[in-house]
Amino acid sequence: MIPAFTFANFQTALTGTYLNYVILTLRVGVVSTVAAVILSYPVAYWIARWHGHTRLKRFLLITLIASFLVGSMARVFAWYSMLTGEGFVNSLLSILGFQRFRFIGTELAIEICQVQYLMSVATLSLISPLKNLDPRFEEASKSLGAEEIRTFLNVTLPLSLPGIVAASLLCFAVTVSAYVTPLVLGAGGILMVSNLVTVAFLQVSNYPLGAAFAVILLFASFVSMYVLEKALLSRVRT
Protein backbone atom coordinates (compact mmCIF):
# COMPACT_ATOMS: atom_id res chain seq x y z
CA MET A 1 0.00 0.00 0.00
CA ILE A 2 1.41 3.37 -1.03
CA PRO A 3 0.37 6.21 1.26
CA ALA A 4 -1.10 8.99 -0.85
CA PHE A 5 -4.12 11.23 -0.83
CA THR A 6 -6.96 9.88 -2.93
CA PHE A 7 -10.73 9.78 -3.22
CA ALA A 8 -10.54 6.45 -5.02
CA ASN A 9 -11.82 4.54 -1.98
CA PHE A 10 -14.93 6.66 -1.75
CA GLN A 11 -15.42 6.08 -5.45
CA THR A 12 -15.21 2.31 -4.89
CA ALA A 13 -17.51 2.55 -1.89
CA LEU A 14 -20.11 4.43 -3.87
CA THR A 15 -20.25 2.32 -7.05
CA GLY A 16 -21.58 -1.09 -8.04
CA THR A 17 -22.53 -3.61 -5.37
CA TYR A 18 -21.19 -1.41 -2.59
CA LEU A 19 -23.44 1.44 -3.63
CA ASN A 20 -26.38 -0.96 -3.49
CA TYR A 21 -25.50 -1.81 0.11
CA VAL A 22 -25.20 1.87 1.01
CA ILE A 23 -28.61 2.55 -0.55
CA LEU A 24 -30.04 -0.52 1.18
CA THR A 25 -28.78 0.80 4.52
CA LEU A 26 -30.47 4.14 3.98
CA ARG A 27 -33.66 2.44 2.77
CA VAL A 28 -33.83 0.14 5.80
CA GLY A 29 -33.25 3.25 7.94
CA VAL A 30 -36.11 5.17 6.36
CA VAL A 31 -38.60 2.27 6.21
CA SER A 32 -37.96 1.15 9.80
CA THR A 33 -38.11 4.71 11.12
CA VAL A 34 -41.39 5.55 9.40
CA ALA A 35 -43.03 2.29 10.50
CA ALA A 36 -41.81 2.63 14.07
CA VAL A 37 -42.85 6.26 14.52
CA ILE A 38 -46.32 5.66 13.06
CA LEU A 39 -46.86 2.72 15.40
CA SER A 40 -45.28 4.46 18.39
CA TYR A 41 -47.12 7.76 18.25
CA PRO A 42 -50.53 6.49 19.35
CA VAL A 43 -48.90 4.43 22.09
CA ALA A 44 -46.90 7.39 23.42
CA TYR A 45 -50.00 9.56 23.09
CA TRP A 46 -51.98 7.07 25.13
CA ILE A 47 -49.35 6.90 27.87
CA ALA A 48 -48.81 10.64 28.01
CA ARG A 49 -52.25 12.13 27.54
CA TRP A 50 -55.01 9.68 28.39
CA HIS A 51 -56.24 9.29 31.93
CA GLY A 52 -56.61 6.08 33.87
CA HIS A 53 -55.39 2.54 33.13
CA THR A 54 -52.44 3.12 35.48
CA ARG A 55 -51.54 -0.56 35.80
CA LEU A 56 -51.66 -1.24 32.08
CA LYS A 57 -49.55 1.86 31.44
CA ARG A 58 -46.98 0.62 33.94
CA PHE A 59 -46.93 -2.77 32.25
CA LEU A 60 -46.47 -1.14 28.85
CA LEU A 61 -43.63 1.00 30.17
CA ILE A 62 -41.98 -2.13 31.60
CA THR A 63 -42.45 -3.81 28.22
CA LEU A 64 -40.83 -0.96 26.33
CA ILE A 65 -37.89 -0.56 28.68
CA ALA A 66 -37.32 -4.31 29.01
CA SER A 67 -37.28 -4.62 25.24
CA PHE A 68 -34.75 -1.80 25.15
CA LEU A 69 -32.49 -3.26 27.84
CA VAL A 70 -32.69 -6.84 26.53
CA GLY A 71 -30.39 -5.73 23.76
CA SER A 72 -29.74 -6.52 20.14
CA MET A 73 -28.20 -9.95 20.64
CA ALA A 74 -31.15 -11.60 22.39
CA ARG A 75 -33.57 -9.77 20.12
CA VAL A 76 -31.92 -10.86 16.92
CA PHE A 77 -31.75 -14.52 17.95
CA ALA A 78 -35.36 -14.36 19.14
CA TRP A 79 -36.38 -13.13 15.70
CA TYR A 80 -34.18 -15.75 14.16
CA SER A 81 -36.25 -18.43 15.94
CA MET A 82 -39.44 -16.69 14.87
CA LEU A 83 -38.52 -16.38 11.20
CA THR A 84 -36.31 -19.38 10.42
CA GLY A 85 -37.45 -22.07 7.97
CA GLU A 86 -39.10 -24.27 10.63
CA GLY A 87 -39.82 -21.34 12.93
CA PHE A 88 -43.01 -20.00 14.44
CA VAL A 89 -44.10 -17.71 11.62
CA ASN A 90 -43.50 -20.29 8.90
CA SER A 91 -45.33 -23.02 10.84
CA LEU A 92 -48.24 -20.63 11.26
CA LEU A 93 -48.18 -19.84 7.55
CA SER A 94 -48.22 -23.50 6.59
CA ILE A 95 -51.03 -24.31 9.05
CA LEU A 96 -53.05 -21.50 7.49
CA GLY A 97 -52.40 -23.03 4.08
CA PHE A 98 -49.83 -20.56 2.79
CA GLN A 99 -46.43 -21.38 1.43
CA ARG A 100 -43.40 -21.14 3.68
CA PHE A 101 -41.40 -18.00 3.07
CA ARG A 102 -37.65 -17.65 3.35
CA PHE A 103 -37.45 -14.65 5.69
CA ILE A 104 -33.83 -15.04 6.75
CA GLY A 105 -31.60 -13.15 4.36
CA THR A 106 -34.24 -10.62 3.36
CA GLU A 107 -34.52 -6.94 4.02
CA LEU A 108 -37.96 -7.56 5.51
CA ALA A 109 -36.54 -9.68 8.34
CA ILE A 110 -34.06 -6.93 9.24
CA GLU A 111 -36.83 -4.36 9.25
CA ILE A 112 -39.20 -6.45 11.36
CA CYS A 113 -36.51 -6.88 14.00
CA GLN A 114 -35.33 -3.30 13.82
CA VAL A 115 -38.83 -1.82 14.13
CA GLN A 116 -39.34 -3.85 17.29
CA TYR A 117 -36.29 -2.17 18.81
CA LEU A 118 -37.26 1.26 17.47
CA MET A 119 -40.69 0.93 19.10
CA SER A 120 -38.91 1.34 22.44
CA VAL A 121 -36.68 4.13 21.19
CA ALA A 122 -39.48 6.10 19.54
CA THR A 123 -42.12 5.65 22.24
CA LEU A 124 -39.74 6.40 25.10
CA SER A 125 -38.58 9.58 23.40
CA LEU A 126 -42.10 10.70 22.37
CA ILE A 127 -43.63 10.42 25.85
CA SER A 128 -41.94 13.48 27.38
CA PRO A 129 -42.67 15.93 24.55
CA LEU A 130 -46.30 14.77 24.49
CA LYS A 131 -46.57 15.08 28.25
CA ASN A 132 -45.11 18.55 28.23
CA LEU A 133 -47.60 19.96 25.74
CA ASP A 134 -49.47 22.79 27.40
CA PRO A 135 -53.03 21.46 27.94
CA ARG A 136 -54.42 24.99 27.60
CA PHE A 137 -54.05 24.86 23.81
CA GLU A 138 -56.25 21.80 23.64
CA GLU A 139 -58.74 23.24 26.09
CA ALA A 140 -58.92 26.44 24.09
CA SER A 141 -59.58 24.48 20.92
CA LYS A 142 -62.31 22.44 22.58
CA SER A 143 -63.95 25.41 24.23
CA LEU A 144 -64.10 27.08 20.82
CA GLY A 145 -66.20 24.15 19.69
CA ALA A 146 -63.74 21.89 17.90
CA GLU A 147 -64.37 18.18 18.23
CA GLU A 148 -61.79 15.96 19.85
CA ILE A 149 -60.50 14.59 16.59
CA ARG A 150 -60.15 18.06 15.07
CA THR A 151 -58.40 19.29 18.18
CA PHE A 152 -55.98 16.43 17.79
CA LEU A 153 -55.34 17.01 14.09
CA ASN A 154 -55.15 20.81 14.22
CA VAL A 155 -53.59 21.43 17.63
CA THR A 156 -51.98 18.43 19.31
CA LEU A 157 -50.33 16.86 16.28
CA PRO A 158 -48.71 20.06 14.95
CA LEU A 159 -47.51 20.98 18.44
CA SER A 160 -45.85 17.60 18.85
CA LEU A 161 -44.13 17.80 15.46
CA PRO A 162 -40.69 18.72 16.89
CA GLY A 163 -40.94 15.64 19.13
CA ILE A 164 -41.80 13.49 16.11
CA VAL A 165 -38.83 14.89 14.16
CA ALA A 166 -36.50 14.25 17.09
CA ALA A 167 -37.73 10.67 17.56
CA SER A 168 -37.47 9.95 13.83
CA LEU A 169 -33.89 11.17 13.57
CA LEU A 170 -32.88 9.18 16.62
CA CYS A 171 -34.45 6.06 15.09
CA PHE A 172 -32.74 6.69 11.77
CA ALA A 173 -29.31 7.18 13.35
CA VAL A 174 -29.73 4.01 15.42
CA THR A 175 -30.81 1.97 12.40
CA VAL A 176 -28.15 2.99 9.88
CA SER A 177 -25.48 2.01 12.39
CA ALA A 178 -27.11 -1.34 13.24
CA TYR A 179 -24.62 -4.19 13.19
CA VAL A 180 -25.88 -7.43 14.71
CA THR A 181 -29.35 -7.34 13.13
CA PRO A 182 -28.18 -7.33 9.49
CA LEU A 183 -25.36 -9.72 10.36
CA VAL A 184 -27.64 -12.46 11.70
CA LEU A 185 -30.92 -11.85 9.87
CA GLY A 186 -29.21 -10.81 6.62
CA ALA A 187 -27.31 -14.12 6.93
CA GLY A 188 -24.50 -12.97 4.65
CA GLY A 189 -26.83 -12.23 1.75
CA ILE A 190 -27.58 -8.71 2.92
CA LEU A 191 -25.01 -6.38 4.38
CA MET A 192 -25.39 -2.93 5.84
CA VAL A 193 -22.64 -0.32 6.05
CA SER A 194 -21.54 -1.39 9.57
CA ASN A 195 -21.03 -4.92 8.27
CA LEU A 196 -19.03 -3.61 5.32
CA VAL A 197 -16.70 -1.77 7.69
CA THR A 198 -16.11 -4.97 9.62
CA VAL A 199 -15.62 -7.11 6.53
CA ALA A 200 -13.14 -4.62 5.07
CA PHE A 201 -11.11 -4.39 8.28
CA LEU A 202 -11.30 -7.83 9.84
CA GLN A 203 -11.80 -10.17 6.89
CA VAL A 204 -10.27 -8.81 3.69
CA SER A 205 -7.90 -6.28 5.32
CA ASN A 206 -8.74 -3.49 2.88
CA TYR A 207 -8.25 -0.73 5.46
CA PRO A 208 -8.66 2.30 3.17
CA LEU A 209 -11.99 0.98 1.86
CA GLY A 210 -13.11 0.14 5.39
CA ALA A 211 -12.21 3.65 6.49
CA ALA A 212 -14.24 5.09 3.60
CA PHE A 213 -17.29 3.09 4.75
CA ALA A 214 -16.70 4.22 8.32
CA VAL A 215 -16.68 7.85 7.19
CA ILE A 216 -19.91 7.35 5.22
CA LEU A 217 -21.52 5.79 8.29
CA LEU A 218 -20.26 8.53 10.56
CA PHE A 219 -21.54 11.14 8.13
CA ALA A 220 -25.06 9.66 7.98
CA SER A 221 -25.23 9.40 11.73
CA PHE A 222 -23.78 12.86 12.46
CA VAL A 223 -26.04 14.60 9.96
CA SER A 224 -29.14 13.11 11.56
CA MET A 225 -27.81 13.92 15.04
CA TYR A 226 -27.05 17.50 13.99
CA VAL A 227 -30.58 17.98 12.68
CA LEU A 228 -31.86 16.31 15.85
CA GLU A 229 -30.08 18.84 18.02
CA LYS A 230 -31.50 21.70 15.96
CA ALA A 231 -34.99 20.19 16.29
CA LEU A 232 -34.56 19.86 20.05
CA LEU A 233 -33.32 23.43 20.36
CA SER A 234 -36.30 24.77 18.46
CA ARG A 235 -38.53 22.81 20.80
CA VAL A 236 -36.90 24.39 23.82
CA ARG A 237 -37.39 27.86 22.36
CA THR A 238 -41.08 27.55 21.49
Partner: protein, 266 residues
Protein backbone atom coordinates in the same frame (compact mmCIF):
# COMPACT_ATOMS: atom_id res chain seq x y z
CA UNK B 1 -69.62 11.65 11.86
CA UNK B 2 -68.00 12.88 15.04
CA UNK B 3 -69.06 9.71 16.83
CA UNK B 4 -67.52 7.60 14.10
CA UNK B 5 -64.28 9.60 14.32
CA UNK B 6 -64.17 9.11 18.07
CA UNK B 7 -64.65 5.37 17.79
CA UNK B 8 -62.04 5.24 15.06
CA UNK B 9 -59.57 7.22 17.20
CA UNK B 10 -60.09 4.86 20.13
CA UNK B 11 -59.70 1.88 17.84
CA UNK B 12 -56.36 3.17 16.50
CA UNK B 13 -54.96 3.89 19.95
CA UNK B 14 -56.06 0.62 21.53
CA UNK B 15 -54.99 -1.31 18.45
CA UNK B 16 -51.52 0.21 18.64
CA UNK B 17 -51.24 -0.50 22.37
CA UNK B 18 -52.21 -4.15 22.02
CA UNK B 19 -50.09 -4.60 18.89
CA UNK B 20 -47.09 -3.18 20.74
CA UNK B 21 -47.46 -5.52 23.69
CA UNK B 22 -47.76 -8.54 21.39
CA UNK B 23 -45.00 -7.38 19.04
CA UNK B 24 -42.54 -6.81 21.88
CA UNK B 25 -43.25 -9.90 23.98
CA UNK B 26 -44.16 -12.55 21.40
CA UNK B 27 -40.67 -13.13 19.94
CA UNK B 28 -39.16 -13.31 23.42
CA UNK B 29 -41.79 -15.81 24.57
CA UNK B 30 -41.54 -17.92 21.41
CA UNK B 31 -37.74 -17.92 21.65
CA UNK B 32 -38.00 -19.10 25.24
CA UNK B 33 -40.34 -21.90 24.17
CA UNK B 34 -38.23 -22.97 21.20
CA UNK B 35 -35.06 -23.15 23.31
CA UNK B 36 -36.47 -26.34 24.93
CA UNK B 37 -36.32 -28.18 21.59
CA UNK B 38 -34.46 -31.48 22.00
CA UNK B 39 -33.50 -31.81 18.32
CA UNK B 40 -30.59 -30.14 16.57
CA UNK B 41 -32.54 -27.52 14.66
CA UNK B 42 -34.78 -24.74 15.89
CA UNK B 43 -38.34 -25.62 15.07
CA UNK B 44 -41.88 -24.82 16.05
CA UNK B 45 -43.84 -26.61 17.40
CA UNK B 46 -41.09 -28.20 19.47
CA UNK B 47 -40.77 -31.97 19.32
CA UNK B 48 -40.23 -32.43 23.05
CA UNK B 49 -38.98 -30.68 26.15
CA UNK B 50 -35.33 -30.79 27.00
CA UNK B 51 -32.80 -28.68 28.83
CA UNK B 52 -29.84 -30.03 26.88
CA UNK B 53 -29.07 -26.78 25.05
CA UNK B 54 -29.11 -24.90 28.34
CA UNK B 55 -26.77 -27.50 29.75
CA UNK B 56 -24.51 -27.11 26.74
CA UNK B 57 -24.61 -23.33 26.98
CA UNK B 58 -23.87 -23.18 30.70
CA UNK B 59 -21.07 -25.77 30.64
CA UNK B 60 -19.23 -24.74 27.47
CA UNK B 61 -15.95 -23.05 28.49
CA UNK B 62 -16.25 -20.67 25.52
CA UNK B 63 -19.51 -19.25 26.83
CA UNK B 64 -18.57 -19.38 30.53
CA UNK B 65 -15.43 -17.43 29.80
CA UNK B 66 -17.51 -15.05 27.68
CA UNK B 67 -19.94 -14.47 30.54
CA UNK B 68 -17.12 -13.77 32.97
CA UNK B 69 -15.51 -11.31 30.56
CA UNK B 70 -18.82 -9.65 29.65
CA UNK B 71 -20.08 -9.20 33.18
CA UNK B 72 -16.79 -8.03 34.67
CA UNK B 73 -16.33 -5.63 31.77
CA UNK B 74 -19.86 -4.27 32.14
CA UNK B 75 -19.53 -3.79 35.89
CA UNK B 76 -16.13 -2.09 35.69
CA UNK B 77 -17.21 0.14 32.79
CA UNK B 78 -20.43 1.07 34.61
CA UNK B 79 -18.74 1.81 37.95
CA UNK B 80 -16.05 3.99 36.36
CA UNK B 81 -18.61 5.75 34.16
CA UNK B 82 -20.77 6.62 37.18
CA UNK B 83 -17.74 7.70 39.22
CA UNK B 84 -16.74 10.09 36.43
CA UNK B 85 -20.26 11.23 35.60
CA UNK B 86 -21.16 12.42 39.11
CA UNK B 87 -18.49 15.15 39.39
CA UNK B 88 -18.84 16.02 35.68
CA UNK B 89 -22.57 16.53 35.92
CA UNK B 90 -22.13 18.62 39.09
CA UNK B 91 -19.70 20.85 37.23
CA UNK B 92 -21.95 21.14 34.19
CA UNK B 93 -25.13 21.89 36.11
CA UNK B 94 -23.81 24.16 38.84
CA UNK B 95 -20.94 26.14 37.40
CA UNK B 96 -20.26 28.33 34.42
CA UNK B 97 -16.82 27.91 32.92
CA UNK B 98 -15.17 28.62 29.57
CA UNK B 99 -15.48 25.79 27.07
CA UNK B 100 -18.50 24.27 28.81
CA UNK B 101 -20.53 23.92 25.62
CA UNK B 102 -17.67 22.34 23.70
CA UNK B 103 -16.95 19.95 26.55
CA UNK B 104 -20.59 18.90 26.77
CA UNK B 105 -20.62 18.13 23.05
CA UNK B 106 -17.36 16.23 23.34
CA UNK B 107 -18.58 14.12 26.25
CA UNK B 108 -21.83 13.18 24.54
CA UNK B 109 -20.35 12.68 21.04
CA UNK B 110 -19.81 8.91 21.43
CA UNK B 111 -23.59 8.62 21.86
CA UNK B 112 -24.06 9.57 18.22
CA UNK B 113 -21.02 7.74 16.87
CA UNK B 114 -21.79 4.29 15.42
CA UNK B 115 -20.09 1.73 17.61
CA UNK B 116 -18.33 0.09 14.63
CA UNK B 117 -16.69 3.43 13.85
CA UNK B 118 -15.59 3.79 17.47
CA UNK B 119 -14.07 0.32 17.21
CA UNK B 120 -12.06 1.16 14.10
CA UNK B 121 -10.90 4.45 15.61
CA UNK B 122 -9.81 2.75 18.84
CA UNK B 123 -7.99 0.02 16.95
CA UNK B 124 -5.85 2.68 15.29
CA UNK B 125 -5.54 4.71 18.46
CA UNK B 126 -4.21 1.76 20.47
CA UNK B 127 -1.83 0.68 17.73
CA UNK B 128 -0.39 4.20 17.43
CA UNK B 129 0.12 4.24 21.20
CA UNK B 130 1.66 0.76 20.99
CA UNK B 131 -0.84 -0.69 23.44
CA UNK B 132 -0.88 -4.46 23.19
CA UNK B 133 -4.36 -5.94 22.95
CA UNK B 134 -5.64 -6.39 26.49
CA UNK B 135 -8.60 -6.21 28.81
CA UNK B 136 -7.71 -2.59 29.58
CA UNK B 137 -8.40 -1.62 25.97
CA UNK B 138 -11.85 -3.14 26.27
CA UNK B 139 -12.52 -1.19 29.45
CA UNK B 140 -11.40 2.08 27.83
CA UNK B 141 -13.56 1.35 24.79
CA UNK B 142 -16.65 0.43 26.77
CA UNK B 143 -16.23 3.53 28.91
CA UNK B 144 -16.85 5.51 25.72
CA UNK B 145 -20.19 3.69 25.40
CA UNK B 146 -21.29 3.89 29.03
CA UNK B 147 -20.09 7.33 30.10
CA UNK B 148 -22.37 9.44 27.84
CA UNK B 149 -25.43 7.52 29.05
CA UNK B 150 -24.40 7.92 32.69
CA UNK B 151 -23.66 11.59 32.23
CA UNK B 152 -27.04 12.23 30.66
CA UNK B 153 -29.04 10.36 33.30
CA UNK B 154 -27.17 11.87 36.26
CA UNK B 155 -27.26 15.37 34.75
CA UNK B 156 -31.05 15.09 34.50
CA UNK B 157 -31.16 14.26 38.23
CA UNK B 158 -28.81 17.14 39.04
CA UNK B 159 -31.07 19.67 37.35
CA UNK B 160 -33.82 19.06 39.87
CA UNK B 161 -31.48 19.37 42.83
CA UNK B 162 -32.29 21.97 45.46
CA UNK B 163 -28.89 23.32 46.55
CA UNK B 164 -30.38 25.03 49.62
CA UNK B 165 -30.34 21.60 51.27
CA UNK B 166 -26.56 21.55 50.99
CA UNK B 167 -26.34 25.10 52.33
CA UNK B 168 -28.47 24.11 55.31
CA UNK B 169 -26.16 21.19 56.01
CA UNK B 170 -23.08 23.42 55.89
CA UNK B 171 -24.78 26.01 58.09
CA UNK B 172 -25.32 23.30 60.63
CA UNK B 173 -21.59 22.69 60.73
CA UNK B 174 -21.00 19.83 58.29
CA UNK B 175 -18.00 20.21 56.01
CA UNK B 176 -18.22 19.78 52.24
CA UNK B 177 -17.32 16.10 52.21
CA UNK B 178 -19.86 15.24 54.91
CA UNK B 179 -22.47 17.26 53.08
CA UNK B 180 -21.78 15.41 49.85
CA UNK B 181 -21.94 12.06 51.59
CA UNK B 182 -25.01 12.67 53.75
CA UNK B 183 -27.08 15.05 51.61
CA UNK B 184 -26.03 15.13 47.96
CA UNK B 185 -25.37 11.46 47.37
CA UNK B 186 -28.61 10.11 48.87
CA UNK B 187 -30.65 12.61 46.86
CA UNK B 188 -29.02 11.82 43.53
CA UNK B 189 -28.77 8.07 44.20
CA UNK B 190 -31.85 7.13 42.11
CA UNK B 191 -30.18 8.81 39.13
CA UNK B 192 -26.95 6.98 39.90
CA UNK B 193 -28.68 3.60 40.07
CA UNK B 194 -30.61 4.26 36.86
CA UNK B 195 -27.45 5.28 35.04
CA UNK B 196 -25.64 2.23 36.41
CA UNK B 197 -28.33 -0.10 35.05
CA UNK B 198 -28.31 1.71 31.72
CA UNK B 199 -24.52 1.44 31.52
CA UNK B 200 -24.53 -2.30 32.31
CA UNK B 201 -27.09 -2.98 29.58
CA UNK B 202 -25.24 -0.89 27.00
CA UNK B 203 -21.90 -2.51 27.73
CA UNK B 204 -23.29 -6.07 27.75
CA UNK B 205 -24.92 -5.53 24.38
CA UNK B 206 -22.12 -4.05 22.31
CA UNK B 207 -20.63 -6.01 19.44
CA UNK B 208 -19.73 -3.35 16.87
CA UNK B 209 -16.84 -1.88 18.81
CA UNK B 210 -15.95 -4.89 20.91
CA UNK B 211 -15.11 -7.09 17.92
CA UNK B 212 -12.18 -4.81 17.10
CA UNK B 213 -10.72 -4.97 20.61
CA UNK B 214 -11.09 -8.58 21.73
CA UNK B 215 -8.36 -11.19 21.89
CA UNK B 216 -9.11 -14.92 21.97
CA UNK B 217 -8.77 -14.72 25.77
CA UNK B 218 -11.03 -11.71 26.22
CA UNK B 219 -13.95 -12.72 24.00
CA UNK B 220 -17.18 -11.33 25.36
CA UNK B 221 -20.29 -13.52 25.48
CA UNK B 222 -21.80 -11.84 22.43
CA UNK B 223 -18.64 -12.27 20.36
CA UNK B 224 -18.41 -15.92 21.40
CA UNK B 225 -22.05 -16.46 20.49
CA UNK B 226 -21.67 -14.90 17.06
CA UNK B 227 -18.54 -16.94 16.46
CA UNK B 228 -20.44 -20.11 17.37
CA UNK B 229 -23.51 -19.14 15.34
CA UNK B 230 -21.38 -18.67 12.24
CA UNK B 231 -20.64 -22.41 12.16
CA UNK B 232 -23.39 -24.18 14.07
CA UNK B 233 -27.11 -23.49 13.77
CA UNK B 234 -28.49 -25.42 16.72
CA UNK B 235 -30.86 -24.27 19.49
CA UNK B 236 -27.90 -23.12 21.63
CA UNK B 237 -28.55 -19.59 20.40
CA UNK B 238 -32.14 -19.97 21.63
CA UNK B 239 -30.93 -20.91 25.11
CA UNK B 240 -28.35 -18.11 25.05
CA UNK B 241 -30.89 -15.48 24.08
CA UNK B 242 -33.28 -16.81 26.73
CA UNK B 243 -30.50 -16.16 29.24
CA UNK B 244 -29.91 -12.64 27.89
CA UNK B 245 -33.66 -11.96 27.96
CA UNK B 246 -33.72 -12.90 31.65
CA UNK B 247 -30.84 -10.52 32.31
CA UNK B 248 -32.56 -7.66 30.46
CA UNK B 249 -35.98 -8.19 32.01
CA UNK B 250 -34.33 -8.64 35.42
CA UNK B 251 -32.53 -5.31 35.08
CA UNK B 252 -35.81 -3.64 34.11
CA UNK B 253 -37.74 -5.04 37.07
CA UNK B 254 -34.87 -4.07 39.38
CA UNK B 255 -34.95 -0.54 37.96
CA UNK B 256 -38.73 -0.36 38.35
CA UNK B 257 -38.46 -1.49 41.98
CA UNK B 258 -35.63 0.81 43.06
CA UNK B 259 -35.88 3.99 41.05
CA UNK B 260 -39.05 4.01 38.93
CA UNK B 261 -39.22 3.88 35.18
CA UNK B 262 -39.64 7.57 34.40
CA UNK B 263 -35.86 7.95 34.49
CA UNK B 264 -35.57 5.69 31.49
CA UNK B 265 -37.52 7.92 29.15
CA UNK B 266 -35.18 8.96 26.37
Amino acid sequence: MSKLARVLGKLVVWGAVIATIVYLWAPLAIDLLMSFEPGVILRFPITGVSLKWYEFFFTNPLFINGMIVSFSLAIVAAVVAVALAVPCSMAFVRYKFPGKGALTSLFTAPLSTPSVVLGVALLYFFSVLNFGASFLNLIIGHLLLTFPYSLRTITATMFGFDTSLEEASMNLGANELETFEKITLPIISPGIIASFIFAIAVSLDDVGMTQFLVTPQTQTLNIALLGYWRWVLDPTVGAASAFLIFVGVGLTLLAERIVGLERFLL
